[in-house]
Symmetry: C2
Subunit: 159 residues, 2 copies
DNA sequence: GGCACATTGTTCCAAATGGAACAAGAATCT
DNA sequence: AGATTCTTGTTCCATTTGGAACAATGTGCC
């Protein structure tokens, strides 16, 4: 009868009253988009988060080290390290020791990896579009500008 | 020398070129704010995510069931179930069987729990303010409006 | 050069996480 | 009323996760 199928709670109303500026809403939305997409990717491709993040990074950044990926994704290095091994085994990426720095290796995505990454972005995009459907073109532009500003700043913070 | 302390990657530039509308930026920011705050909370209070989310929900919603909390936080029921037990043990919440529905129990936050929740919101707020510092008042208003719109819509999607 | 310190990638391990199955109660249908 | 289906909260278990310690290499400083 009510417009809301769910039982008792009005999620939106709760979220409007939380004593934090944007954190809770951001977190909720990220769950709604990313976590849901993440589950879909795992179901359809078997890849888990660290793995497709790795592919995503390598597809847009021609060459990176594992550490770079860790920074770009804000995930701990050991997570990325594991992902690198699995993606090497699957033939999605290549690795070559860096001659100028013996500690690190340069990672590149293979053609097979790029195909997989395209498929993954497709899956994530579908879910995202579903969630952001109610935004106007102006909204999209504003959101984009604000998020870019925030990301730029957040990336400069230590930790 | 460069304005960026880090080694090679320009995170912001990468994030600007990802082939997804907002998903990656949202995810990155949520990490920067929430995950960092989450670590701080764990360090300072010993509470983990499911647990402080539970307190957060109960502090703003006078009475809820575990299922309500699961929906408000987009976390699986078993996570919340565990959190309920631990918070009961700590005396942060109370639980009373619902006479009108034998399956569920009504949860309420105690005074002790409310004190803890205040402290947690403080910690999370600090980190959030640090990240959103570069936003103007207009930005805040826009972001707020957009996020509310999105949350409302996301909450209505199944899954 | 040598010595302290930082960085990269890795392994280990304890903890958190979430899917699946379950029991008990409620709702629906005939 | 009984049968079927749904919902709530829980336990079980396998997987994911990330902190800490580590070896190997690089950097800065005297």
């Amino acid at each position: 009868m009510a417009k809301d199928d769910h039982a008792g709670v009005d999620v939106a109303e709760f979220i409007a009253t939380v004593g934090l500026r944007h954190a809770y809403r951001l977190s909720y939305l990220t769950s709604a988009i990313v976590t849901a997409g993440y589950d879909a990717v795992k179901r359809e491709t078997g890849l888990i988060r660290g793995e497709y993040l790795l592919l995503l990074c390598l597809s847009h950044q021609k060459i990176s080290t594992a550490q770079d990926v860790a920074r770009m994704t804000r995930r701990p290095r050991n997570t990325i390290s594991r992902a690198v091994h699995r993606m090497l085994d699957e033939g999605y990426i290549d690795r070559a020791p860096d001659p100028s720095d013996g500690r690190q290796s340069k990672l590149t995505i293979t053609a097979k990896g790029r195909a997989m990454q395209t498929r993954i972005e497709q899956i994530l995009s579908e879910r995202e579009e579903e969630v952001v459907a109610p935004l106007s073109a102006d909204d999209h532009a504003s959101l984009d500008a604000i998020l870019q500003k925030l990301v730029r700043h957040a990336a400069s913070l230590k930790d």
